[in-house]
């Protein structure tokens, strides 16, 4: 049985994520896959190393699943994030969302990826042509209601 949320060092399997969802009464499934891009801020990226505070990161993913259910009670969602070294084109994150109608599945999927970038303790170490740098995005604070509202706004745009 594939768990709905996971931090893993192995390759992501989006099909397994979809099969993990209960599709009773479901009319739509969306999948989102985040890939390692070959460029960032004008730099040629060679590879990435992802690090996580695993115990807290899994709780963060669980929290995003709960928040999604609060917002869209008919949505079922699964989120897996890979950590460790990844090459260009590798999948770093996969989200599957199922709902009776397509709108909620698309929205919940977008909400989940925005929230991952806000509150899940995972970090990218970028190795690019000429050097390496830790990427630092948002100061994680799950209780920041403004950030959560912003993610919801993007999801429903």
């Amino acid at each position: 049985m594939v768990s709905l949320t996971a931090i893993t060092t192995t390759m992501l399997d989006t099909g397994a994520l979809v099969r993990a969802l209960d599709t009773t009464g479901i009319g739509a499934v969306t999948t989102f896959i985040g890939l390692v891009r070959d460029h960032n801020l004008g730099r040629r990226v060679l590879h990435l190393e992802y690090e996580a505070y695993e115990a807290l990161a899994v709780k963060g993913l669980d929290r995003i699943v709960s928040e999604s259910l609060e917002q869209w009670p008919s949505v079922r969602i699964a989120i897996h994030h890979r950590i460790g070294r990844m090459e260009i084109g590798d999948a770093s994150v996969a989200i599957a969302a199922a709902s009776p109608h397509r709108g909620e599945a698309f929205a919940a999927s977008r909400y989940a990826i925005e929230r991952i970038k806000q509150i899940v303790p995972i970090w990218k170490h970028e190795y690019f042509e000429g050097g390496d740098v830790w990427i630092e995005g948002a100061t994680a604070d799950p209780d920041n209601t403004e950030a959560r509202a912003q993610a919801l706004k993007i999801a429903c745009a």
Binding site: Y53, I116, K117, P121, I122, W123, W134, I135, A140, P142
Partner: protein, 81 residues
Amino acid sequence: MRVTVRLFARLRDLVGTGELQRDAPGGATVGAVWAGLVAEYPELSPYEKSISCAVNADYSRFTAAVADGDEVAFLPPVSGG
């Protein structure tokens, strides 16, 4: 009392290890643990405004008290996805 300090990403690189044990006086807060760490590693100080903290793998606040044996983590801004 003694706490385990966990550091991640750039903070871990700055200190040279991701885990250390430190003594703290009874009733100490997360903020006091951080202040002790900054006294030891001044290069951490620019991070004060942008980090998050966690106690025993739950998000916490600098004002929260820590207990003997707690795992106190300091997290630079996150960049998953």
